[in-house]
């Protein structure tokens, strides 16, 4: 049966709440909604062509994700990230990615190798991007590496936590992408993580993943501090 043309132009699946959630999340990611901006549900509803209810319910989900704060009778506040938030985020990432790498290294050889090979693919793409000075491409490949690392661990809760954290820190990563120095160090460290996995050495994989993020944190946090970025 041919379904009638979708009501709204870009509406693809499911409920209006999901649409609103996706749209608002994307808007925050892309900084269309800048942090500190105080939006009214009515206004967003109007812009999305729906009533206030689905927007309100999407806002609740976004609040649960730590992206906005719904102020009791004031509106929706887009949250900013303070340096202290970045410290928190790094500690969570250090913990989760470390365990993920360890888990993969403990898997049967076939799976380990498959994961390591995919990770090496992303690392190679990073090296190529670095070679030609393409930082955005480097950033995308880096993101793909870390996403794949988590996904291969086969733990939905870890994936969810990582996704939440990634959403929160996306803006900061974009902002600092052009300031970072240790691009080649990251590439080497990624290779070491994959090597340990392939070798089936959980302790080495855990350590390599941890040290990689610890180094990145130690590079980034002072950078943020020196630029005096109080919120981003």
């Amino acid at each position: 049966m041919v379904r009638a043309v979708m009501r709204a132009e870009e509406e693809r699946k499911g409920s209006l709440v999901d649409d609103a959630y996706a749209a608002m999340r994307a808007a925050i990611r892309e900084s269309s909604f800048a942090p500190g901006y105080q939006a009214s549900e009515q206004e967003i509803a109007l812009r999305l062509g729906m009533s206030r209810t689905p927007v309100h319910e999407a806002a609740i989900r976004l609040q649960e994700d730590g992206l906005v704060r719904v102020l009791p009778r004031r509106g929706i506040l887009i949250l900013a990230l303070a340096p202290d938030d970045m410290r928190e985020i790094y500690d969570v990432v250090i913990a989760i990615e470390g365990r993920a790498a360890e888990l993969i290294a403990e898997m049967p050889e076939a799976e380990r190798v498959r994961a390591a090979t995919e990770l090496d693919g992303h690392t190679a793409e990073m090296a190529a991007a670095h070679e030609r000075g393409d930082r955005p491409a480097w950033g995308r490949a880096d993101g793909a590496f870390h996403t794949a690392l988590i996904e291969h661990a086969g733990n939905r809760r870890m994936s969810r936590i990582a996704q939440t954290i990634t959403d929160q820190s996306h803006r900061a990563r974009m902002l600092t992408l052009n300031l970072r120095q240790g691009l080649d160090a990251s590439i080497d460290e990624h290779r070491e993580i994959a090597r340990a996995m392939r070798a089936g050495d959980p302790a080495a994989a855990l350590n390599a993943a941890r040290q990689h993020r610890i180094r990145a944190r130690d590079e980034l946090l002072p950078l943020l501090a020196s630029y005096g970025l109080k919120h981003l």
Copy 2:
């Protein structure tokens, strides 16, 4: 100014949504809502003396917490925990608590000692409860130990993750409390975690916290399997 008496009898603060969220969460924790039970929002709303809207919005939050699933035109399904979920939960806990212990061990001595002392207090309570064969008290003290461990790390995101995970696994913990064997092993391991913190040895603290949870997992998962508990 003396505020008027609260409208409803047990309403303490804030919105009806918060009340509904708290009530439903408690009901799930205490198994008043058994897993697999399919509740209708109308029915819950009636029981809580409010309209469907706040119940619906609370259900969204609970879904985000992984406690229920809102089925698109079917109702609210209380989620059950499969053994595979417990495996996932343990891996997250191993990661998060390990990092938390490490972080505390890296703090200045005064804070480290304060945290270790509080943790030792909970451990002592566990030992006392074990002595007199009081398993519920042992369980409470054990929970307090792990909560305190996370709280002292001073990372709100970690606290939130730990809280979510704890909520999800609460029923399983209650169920297996009477089956567990390694109560005294837990006590020793708790003491070792605190010792490493007090000594300012991050690597030892990380390892002790990890091993503690790994051992507990290796004790519990086979237990669940042997009882053939497919969902709990």
